[in-house]
Structures are given as structure tokens and as C-alpha cells.
Subunit: 218 residues, 2 copies
Amino acid sequence: LSPFCRQIRLALAEKGLLFELKEESVWPPSPDFLSVNPAGTVPVLIDDRQSEGVAVVTPAGPIGEYLEEVYPEPPLLPKTPVDRAECRRLVAWFNEKFHTEVTLNLLFEKVHKRYAGFGAPDMDQVREGVENIHSHLDYISRLADDRRWLAGDDFTLADLVAAAHISSIDYLGDVPWWNYEPAKVWYVKMKSRPSFRPLLKDRIPGVPPPRHYGDLDF
Amino acid sequence: LSPFCRQIRLALAEKGLLFELKEESVWPPSPDFLSVNPAGTVPVLIDDRQSEGVAVVTPAGPIGEYLEEVYPEPPLLPKTPVDRAECRRLVAWFNEKFHTEVTLNLLFEKVHKRYAGFGAPDMDQVREGVENIHSHLDYISRLADDRRWLAGDDFTLADLVAAAHISSIDYLGDVPWWNYEPAKVWYVKMKSRPSFRPLLKDRIPGVPPPRHYGDLDF
């Protein structure tokens, strides 16, 4: 359910790149994994298609930029520097702001803590996450009202990153869709893309998603 | 002392771009500022040199990419996608990992909280920050031992971002330089650059830096 892995899985699929997923248990990271990524975090992209040698790229932000540089078609960043800046602003919005205000409070407390053996969720944090998600859905709704896609006319990495974060929270049943129709319409468009299908089939043992999670007409 | 503003001030100076600094009080952000950056964070770059109109770019990561695209000389990212990925990995290391493990525990607790009226520093957090900085200085030392600059042969954004974070903590006197000679030698090189001079003259009212802060031979 890592939204950072999910955004890269989506980007790889959108670019038509076949890849093999390897699961890594990062609480705590193994010495082997730390020798690959000293930060001990996922995702890590191992690209062995380059003639100059195997490229090891991490974390999610740099992987997105790397994929765009090395596999530019179809593009996931807009054409002009100003439009690219707007796309990257939204990527940072979800990977930094949404992550801190929502994902850490919900996904980390409810799921990761249990797997890492860090004990029970802190219900104050969970309540904060449940509360914080409203302003983000409102923001997505306003963007989706004004623009074809979140960053503008083009479908971009910003849509993938936003949908990756939302999808992890949606798996927990914590997205109050009923209040945010334009955000919901945008998310249904995202869910309908072939790149999204594998994510909708993911299941965490012992944590079943709500019924609407994999549903395209929810 | 914001390491995110500092890295952009350094990048602008390295690229020889003149700029005007505007102070923004972001606890809480004003409605006017939120209309410029709905995330309510600094830095925000307002670029009025473009013929297509004024560009508003935020946060620090996207500003770095924008500057490189629009003002490519001198370059602050390496030439190949793999080398750029390594540079961006280190930028993310400092802006994400160092920030969470060190900067938030020290700068936020000791300085920002006071200005934001959030009360006294949490001494457990401060102790954690003081402890966490060691592994980062050790990592910088190992990189500085192996390479000419942190990301490889070239002086890059990674050096600026790392030095920006270190400089904010050094202002507080919390960098245990004596144990990390190669990191210190690298930081003296950074401090000696003309781009660094304005940062070394910054003073926070009521919080004087230690004597060595502005010193090139400390």
C-alpha cells in the first residue's frame, strides 16, 4: 500500500515498461537492502536495460524524473518549464503535505505500525488524518473543476501521485467521497486506466478493503 | 534559517541571478500568501524575467528543477540521467531524511516554535536531533572521502542542499564537527564560496550563532 511504490508502478505501466516487483521488508531494512539504498526506504528502481550498466534509482521523486528522461514516451511531465513546475508542485503537495497530514496519520498508524511491531494505532493521530483529508479532497475538487487533469490540460505525474496516495487511503475506507463529487469523478477516471488495475487487486492479509475499493462505479 | 529557502538562495547566487528577498511569516500563513502558495510554505520563487508572464514556483525541489531548465548556466545538475538521479537522491536525502531526523528536531523545536508561539522546545525531540546528526555527518564524510563533491565529480545542487541544512543546524551550534574531518573539509569549501556569504551574515534576533558559524577556518 505504499503510495510511493504505487506512483512508480503507475508511471512504469503508463510508459508501457514491463517490470518485476520485489517485496522488501523495511522495518527494519536488511543490511543487503541498505547496501542498495542507504536510506532504507522503498521504492528503489533497478534498471538493467541501459547499455552503460545497471542504474539504481531512489526515492520516488528522482525515479519519476529518471523515467521521464530515459523513457520519455508517453510524456508524464508537461512541455514548458512553467507547466512542469506546476506539475512538480502538485507532486510535492501529495508526497510531502498529503503524506504528512493524511497518509502518516492513517496508513502508518493503522497498517504499517502493526506490521512493524510498533504497537496499536494512536487514535489521536488517526482522528487527525480523518479530519485533514477533507481539505485535500476539497483542493482536488477545485483543481478537477478548473482543469482537465490536476496539473492542467495534460494527464501527468501529478495525477498518478495524487491517485496513488488517495488509493492507499481508499483501501482503508477512509475517503469521504460523498462530499467531493469532482474529486470522485477524477478518481473514477484514474481507476479506469489499465495502469491502475494491478493496484485494485492488491490485498493486505488480514486487512480487506471496503467493497467500493476495486469498483469502477462506486 | 529555513534550509529550504537557503538552498534556493544558494542556487540563485551560484547561477549569478540577482533576486530580492521578501520575508514571509508563515505561522500562520496570511490569506494573501495562501493565494500565492496554497500550501502556505516557503520558499516561493516569483520569476518576472520570462516573456510569457510571471512564473510562481514552489516548493524548493521544483524551484531547483525550474532554475536548471530556465537558467542552465552554470549547471547544478550532472549531465547523464544516472548521475542526475544520484544528485537528486542526495537532494531528497537532505530535504526528506535529514529534515525529518535532524532539522525538525532541532531548528523547529529550538527556534520556529518560539516564533510561532508553540511553546517551549520538547527536550526529547532535541536530544533525538542531536543524536541523529551523527549518522548524517558520517555519511557526508564517507561521500566526501570517495568523491570530489557529494554527488560525484561535479559541484551540484546536492552540495547546496546539504550545506543549506547543515548551515541551519550549525547556526544553533549543534554540529559536532570534531568527529567528522572530511565533512568539515567539504563544508569549509562550501562556506568559502561567494554564494554562501549572505547566509553567514544572517542573524536571528535573540539567537546569536556560535563564534565559528561565520568563520572560514573553524
